[in-house]
Symmetry: C2
Subunit: 345 residues, 2 copies
Amino acid sequence: LSPSLPPCYNLAVKVSELGEFGLIDLLAKMISESGRATSPQLILGIGDDAAAWRSDAAIHLVTTDSLFEGIHFTLESTPWDALGWKSLAVNLSDIAAMGGTPKYALVSLALPEDAEVDDVRALYRGMIEIAGKFQVAIVGGDTCRAPLVSLTITVFGDADSAGKMLTRSGAKHGDKIAVTGSLGAAAGGLAMLAKKMKVNNEQDAAELSRAFLRPWPRVAEGKMLVETGVRAAIDVSDGLVADLTHICRASGVGARVEVERVSVSPALKVGFGSRALGLALSGGEDYELLFTASQDVMANVQKAAACPITVIGDITAENAGQVGLVDASGKPVHVSMAGWEHFKK
Amino acid sequence: LSPSLPPCYNLAVKVSELGEFGLIDLLAKMISESGRATSPQLILGIGDDAAAWRSDAAIHLVTTDSLFEGIHFTLESTPWDALGWKSLAVNLSDIAAMGGTPKYALVSLALPEDAEVDDVRALYRGMIEIAGKFQVAIVGGDTCRAPLVSLTITVFGDADSAGKMLTRSGAKHGDKIAVTGSLGAAAGGLAMLAKKMKVNNEQDAAELSRAFLRPWPRVAEGKMLVETGVRAAIDVSDGLVADLTHICRASGVGARVEVERVSVSPALKVGFGSRALGLALSGGEDYELLFTASQDVMANVQKAAACPITVIGDITAENAGQVGLVDASGKPVHVSMAGWEHFKK
């Protein structure tokens, strides 16, 4: 009730002062108070050797993704709450790309011992926020000390109740290629946050920044796609051309993308001009769904969709495993870009 | 067919020369050729946005554990194949501590770009070896570049078909406390491998080293315990006293351990003399099962067990959340030890 807190209250508390078990207690309490520690079929959540739940789904889906400080993010351009949001979002997006419903998450968190407790709270606030939006329960994980911050999240989901899925190997010759929403904003946001680029319009800047920091996984759209008859999809994490190449390789087909049809983020076009198309084709981290379907199914998708669906090209029998970029007249074009791959020098 | 390989063959190939997708292809091929990439109910393994399997188990179990270079292991004392074995073993042990059957594993691997491909192969050889012993399929994961080696493995299992489980919260006043096998060998092995201790007898040295590097998760014993009526267990990872404290806190009971009854590893006793008991009580990483049960159930466990089962004390109503160490006459004793906790300075 005192209007002024004692001065010590403002000193940053380090996780080393809490200890591992103190930190686990704090995080478990945050998750529990948010209502994200439970779900109707959960039997055991945080605090035992394993989590346990009942399920009557026929097919279970599971995915995992790691984010390392200095590799996938820097704390200069990614606030802690955004890091929490994004690290769960990228996993939800993988379940979306299967047409499934995410249900449970396990979080492995590594922190330097001088990490500040308030920052870790912010991290979990962001994670709990997105978990709430998608009704995902956080049921366990692991915390440990490490020289850098890293998060490895594993998400479990149920496949569509009819047992249908969106896979990388489901594309067929004659399919149309389409993408949800628009592309490139996340890459633009990163360039801006890393101060490699300046965007003058405040609203555009906010949109680019949100695209990079708080991507919205297309879970509802993935479910709609699988229900409408789509069988091939991937989420755009490496970049449109790189991810379409994954589909082409897995399906043994080729792809032809008409570059002028690609839906470039409007905010990106304004802020980045001639560089926008390259970022939309190769930037990655947009977490839109890239999918293929017959013309008939595609027409039904466009009727059912609550978000923009843009047809950008065709699946071909020739040039298996390859993506060709063409102009409106079908002539090959070259757009400068570089995909994102770990380890390559 | 040439008896002498060209000299370049012996040069260490770095993962940066393979690139991320080259490395994923290599690992997927190793797992596939080992037969560990599949299982009867698996629908999608490595290579899509998520793995997918069918299951008719009523209750699903899931656990995750991370190992970081410099925190959980050093490459000086842990060969790569042992690191692969152990990183999966610690997760299988968590499923064992629930009385479940492990089924699927996801592996997130972070590597410096100058890591050698042969070392990564050895890592996966060790992991595939133990996966084979327990019929676990490796169905996906993530690889990325990082300044240090780390592994986060998530394992999925089925609970006992009757839906019964071993939990930390199942201990009751009047229960006997027991442990499988013997304790302390892993801590002795670590002290020896870190060259803080020398063990002269070769057979003892090999046993201590194996206990630390290649722990054997007590999956069969966990299933036997749950079938025999045991309801409370944990695996000994932090150390006997620390892990028994976890049970006491979760169950709202106390524990009294008669220290002279604790089954100390014979190899440890020979090599470490008076330090052996302290290591057995607090050393950790033995991955034995520590459990509690009524006297009647305990008698049935001892009949059913294929490994030594040692009763070491009693669960008490008083001193909830605490573990007391006593001698044969019931008098409190002090044994020097230090539990393992992350973050505490």
